[in-house]
Structures are given as structure tokens and as C-alpha cells.
């Protein structure tokens, strides 16, 4: 029995280690590529260990930009990505906590209608209605703005559903107790519901921040100015070239920088992340 257990553990270690290696290998290679020069990569001579150009490449990409494609410093793009991700996360929390409160704690005509109007949007991502949505955003003069980047992506039901489910678990006795204290709907919301929802809010924030940071097709369409582009779309622009070589080392350094913030969020806020993931999808 003991022998069995040891063997089992050994197998588990081996499999998990292989898993970690498979998961990490592409990123390691990307990191390695970001520390060499273009010729080494283009000529297919990239080794498996980092090269001498780490500081040079990262300094260049962060503060200067590529020489041959998108010339904006990546730091600006990271700022754009950050503002967009924050606006999406906070905006979504804001609208969905309010609407979920209305749906759960009020009884009024059209309640179910309102719920369904929101609910239908659950699974239809922006990719499917991309061209008409682009038209609407441009008609509203929101191209090249942070609102244009963020607001259309807030239009979805996941947050509302999450809060609705959470509010359903709040015992009715709390509302009755609050009423006895003479509290109205606003005070009950502020003093009872929100404090209870803090971890749920934080969990949703983590998920939505990652979602916002990783957007690709939408920013590609709605940003026409270089100064508004996000880091994820910049990578694509860096690897297509006409009559010139791709500066792979810079594209790969940008890819590393694009992965860093959301990965950090996952690793550092792992508990909230897991909670957010498991609960938004339930």
C-alpha cells in the first residue's frame, strides 16, 4: 500500500512537471527570442538560452518603439490597454450590480422583460456583430476614444447574472432586519448588500480586467490613431511587413509585456481569480 502510494506520487510529479514544461515552453521561447537580435531569429539560429540584448530590446520597445512598423512606445500602448481594461472591469461591475439589485430586490412590471433583454446578450460576443457595432460607435463619434474601446464590450450579461445569483443567497432576514432599523432600499444596498458582495466584486473585477486587456479584434477596428492602439493589436501590426523583415525580437518583447500584467493578476490574486472564474460561469 505504501509502495503504491509512493509510485503514484512519483507518477503525479512526473506528469505535472511535464505539464508545467509544456505550458511554459512557448513563453520561454518567446522570452529567449526577445533577448536576441533580428538576424539570429530570421536565420533560424535561435538557441534555447537568453541572449545579450535583453536591456537593449526592452528599453527600445518600451520607450522608443519599433523602427519599422508602429513607432509608438509600447509603454503608451500598455497605458491604453490598462485604461481600457479598467474601464471595462469597473464599468461592467457598475452597471451589473445596479441592474441585478433592481431585478432581485424589486418587484415591478416588466421585470422579467428587462431580465430577458439583458440575458439574451449572454453569449453573443462582439465579433459576431462587429461591422454594425463599428458603425454605431463611429456614428456616435466614439472612434479613437476610451469610451469607444470599452463601452460596447460592457454590453453583456455575465456580471448581471453573477450578482443576481449572489444576491439570491443573501438571507431575506437581513432585509427584514434592515427595514426594522428604518433603512430604505438605498441604505440597505450601501450598508448591507455591497459589503457582503466585496469578494464577488473583486473576483469579477479580476476576470473582467483580463478579458479587457486581452481584447483584439475590437481595438483593431476602433482605433485609427497610433496613439490609441493597445498592446495586443500592436503585436499583430509588428509581425506583418511589406518589403521588410519582421523585427521579431521586438515583437516578442512586446508579446512578453502584453502577457505580463494579466498573468501577474492571475498569479497574485489567484484565490479571487479562481472564485471569479468558477462563479461567473456557473
Amino acid at each position: 500500500m505504501v509502495e503504491d502510494r509512493r509510485l503514484g506520487d512519483a507518477i503525479a510529479y512526473v506528469i505535472l512537471t511535464i505539464g508545467v514544461l509544456i505550458v511554459a515552453f512557448p513563453v520561454w521561447l518567446t522570452f529567449v527570442a526577445s533577448t536576441w537580435d533580428a538576424a539570429t531569429i530570421i536565420n533560424g539560429q535561435l538557441p534555447l538560452y537568453p541572449g545579450p540584448k535583453f536591456f537593449e530590446n526592452y528599453y527600445r520597445i518600451l520607450f522608443i518603439g519599433t523602427s519599422g512598423t508602429t513607432r509608438e512606445p509600447v509603454l503608451n500602448m500598455m497605458l491604453n490597454s490598462f485604461v481600457m481594461a479598467m474601464a471595462i472591469a469597473l464599468g461592467k461591475i457598475f452597471i451589473s450590480v445596479l441592474s441585478a439589485y433592481a431585478i432581485v430586490y424589486y418587484r415591478f412590471p416588466f421585470r422579467m422583460a428587462a431580465f430577458w433583454i439583458i440575458f439574451v446578450t449572454l453569449m453573443l460576443p462582439v465579433e459576431v456583430r462587429i461591422f454594425p457595432t463599428f458603425k454605431v460607435v463611429s456614428d456616435l463619434g466614439m472612434l479613437d476614444t476610451y469610451q469607444g474601446l470599452a463601452v460596447p464590450l460592457i454590453a453583456s450579461a455575465t456580471g448581471t447574472l453573477l450578482f443576481r445569483q449572489f444576491f439570491m443567497t443573501i438571507p431575506d432576514e437581513l432585509l427584514e432586519a434592515s427595514r426594522i432599523d428604518g433603512a430604505g432600499p438605498f441604505r440597505f444596498f450601501k450598508d448591507t448588500v455591497i459589503p457582503l458582495s466585496i469578494t464577488t466584486i473583486a473576483a469579477l473585477f479580476v476576470i473582467q480586467f483580463i478579458y479587457g486587456w486581452n481584447q483584439y479584434l475590437w481595438p483593431l477596428l476602433v482605433t485609427t490613431k497610433d496613439s490609441m492602439q493597445t498592446i495586443v493589436i500592436a503585436i499583430k501590426k509588428m509581425i506583418v511587413t511589406s518589403d521588410a523583415l519582421t523585427e521579431w525580437q521586438l515583437a516578442m518583447a512586446t508579446a512578453m509585456l502584453a502577457m505580463l500584467p494579466p498573468v501577474l493578476v492571475v498569479v497574485l490574486m489567484q484565490r479571487l481569480f479562481v472564485k471569479g472564474l468558477v462563479e461567473t460561469e456557473k
Binding site: A102, I103, K135
Partner: protein, 293 residues
């Protein structure tokens, strides 16, 4: 569905709902209705001339062999990504569920690819497998494998499947692990006392108990492959070669871009819309069932 204790009134709840309803109407219903309208039109690229053509765009769509090819591609793509990412994730989850030292660290090291943008994941994989500069592609070539995703549709499909699977394992792993950890230890212990071997124990007891998780993940993975893999396909293959990796969602985009066939693209959006509403209804029933127990 409904609280026993609640407030009444109409103005306050409508005000609370207003932000979300306004955004939903402006950025969801309005564009969706525009898509429906556009699907009946034939327009030039710059939108300077328009003709109302009734259902011609739909008729063209269902005559287009490329559309059915995209349908089949989507089916193949989702099947492989689901099977691969679910089974690999299950294997890792079962291993990580053992009481071994460092299990938490392994968990952290396995979940972070969730945070990598699909477009970035695509770039990582094309960088490894590009026939002329990719390190692994060169390795394959030196082994005598004729690897050429630029020309061979199967190679290209394999590459997008791998990239999409790589990104999805972490998600499935988390849910399987949560599912495993919620199985009461007493159930397993009872089986041990009965003398069931680990392998048998897993398939007869653990796996059936995981089936709600598996089923849920299946739905989520299909949705993932349908919609969230756009960035991967766009950076790895751009739908090529010869349309071999063009999925339904990618085709909506590639037919509509440059304004060349906006009507056809809109018709595809509408068809997808119907498919998604059907899927949503399906998932909704599923959610309600889960909530009820």
C-alpha cells in the same frame, strides 16, 4: 428566482436598470438589427450605392461551398480542442488532486495561460512552428517530417488546434480540480475499503461524479472555440491555406472586411445569432438545473 422580501415601486428599479439597458440597446440590439437589415442589402465597398435584394444574400450563402467548409472546419476544430483540452486537463487535475507536496505551486504554474490573450497565444505558436524560422518546425524538418502549415491545410488546422488547446487547458484544469475536490473523501475511502484499484476507482466512482463539471465544460469549450479563438486564427493562419482554418466567426469577419461582401457577412451574423440564441437557451436550462440543487 424571486425573493420573498422585496421593495416595490417602478421609478427606482428602472433608474437602476437604465445604464445596463441603455448600453445593451445601443451596442447590442441596435447593431444586431442593423445586421439584419444589412443582410438584405447589396452594397459597394464604400457604401455609396445600395440595392435591396431580399433573401439573395442568404440564398448565396447556402449555395456557397465555402460556407459549408467553414461549418465543417468549425466542427473539426471544436471537437479536437474539446477532446484534447478536456482530457489533458483532467489528467493534470487528477494528479494535482493527490495529496502531494507542492500541489499548490503546480496549480499556479498550470493556470496562468488563461491570462494570455488568444492573439498573443497565436503569435507564440506561429513563432515555434513557422516553417522557416520556427525552432520546432526546423526540428520536425530534420526528423524528415514534411511540415508546411503555409500550404497543407491539415498542418495549419493542427497548429491552430494546438494553440487553442494550450490556452484552454488551464481553464478546464481549474474546474476539474474544483470538481474533484468537492467529491467527499468518504466516498473514495469506501471504495478503497472495497478493494477497488485506483484505475477502476476513477472510472466507476470519480468520473461519474465529475460528469456535471464535464458537461458544463463541454458547453463552455464549444463557445470558446466558436468565438474566442478569433485572435488565434487571425495571427496563426489568417483562415488559410485555401480556407482550411476558416471558422464560422472568422468568415463573418473576412467576408465583411474591406466592405467587399457586407451583405453576405451580415447574413452570416444573423445565422450565427440564431445558433447562439439556441445555444443560450440550452445553457440557460442547464444553469437553472444546477441552481436548483
Amino acid at each position: 428566482m424571486m425573493k420573498n422580501a422585496y421593495f416595490s415601486g417602478l421609478t427606482v428599479p428602472l433608474l437602476l436598470l437604465l445604464p445596463q439597458l441603455a448600453i445593451t440597446v445601443v451596442f447590442f440590439y441596435w447593431p444586431a438589427s442593423q445586421a439584419v437589415w444589412q443582410s438584405f442589402l447589396l452594397q459597394d465597398a464604400f457604401g455609396t450605392s445600395t440595392e435591396f435584394v431580399w433573401f439573395e444574400n442568404y440564398a448565396e450563402l447556402f449555395k456557397d461551398p465555402g460556407y459549408f467548409k467553414a461549418l465543417i472546419n468549425t466542427a473539426i476544430f471544436s471537437t479536437f480542442v474539446c477532446i484534447l483540452s478536456l482530457s489533458i486537463a483532467l489528467l493534470f487535475a487528477v494528479m494535482a488532486d493527490r495529496q502531494i507536496r507542492g500541489a499548490e505551486i503546480y496549480k499556479t504554474l498550470l493556470i496562468w495561460p488563461y491570462a494570455v490573450a488568444p492573439a498573443v497565444a497565436g503569435v507564440l505558436w506561429i513563432f515555434m512552428f513557422d516553417p522557416s524560422l520556427g525552432m520546432l518546425a526546423r526540428g520536425l524538418a530534420s526528423l524528415g517530417v514534411n511540415w508546411n502549415p503555409r500550404l497543407n491545410g491539415n498542418d495549419a488546422m493542427l497548429l491552430v488546434i494546438l494553440a487553442a488547446t494550450w490556452k484552454q487547458i488551464s481553464y478546464n484544469f481549474l474546474f476539474f480540480l474544483a470538481g474533484l475536490q468537492s467529491i467527499p473523501k468518504s466516498v473514495i475511502e469506501a471504495a478503497v475499503i472495497d478493494g477497488a484499484r485506483p484505475w477502476r476507482r476513477f472510472w466507476t466512482i470519480v468520473f461519474p461524479l465529475l460528469s456535471p463539471t464535464t458537461f458544463f465544460l463541454l458547453v463552455v469549450n464549444i463557445v470558446y472555440v466558436f468565438f474566442d479563438t478569433f485572435g488565434i486564427i487571425d495571427t496563426v493562419t489568417g483562415g488559410g491555406p485555401s480556407g482550411a482554418t476558416e471558422t464560422l466567426v472568422y468568415k463573418v469577419y473576412s467576408d465583411g472586411k474591406g466592405g467587399s461582401n457586407l451583405g453576405g457577412s451580415a447574413a452570416q451574423s444573423v445565422v450565427l445569432l440564431v445558433m447562439v440564441i439556441a445555444m443560450t437557451a440550452f445553457q440557460f436550462r442547464f444553469i437553472e438545473r444546477r441552481v436548483s440543487y
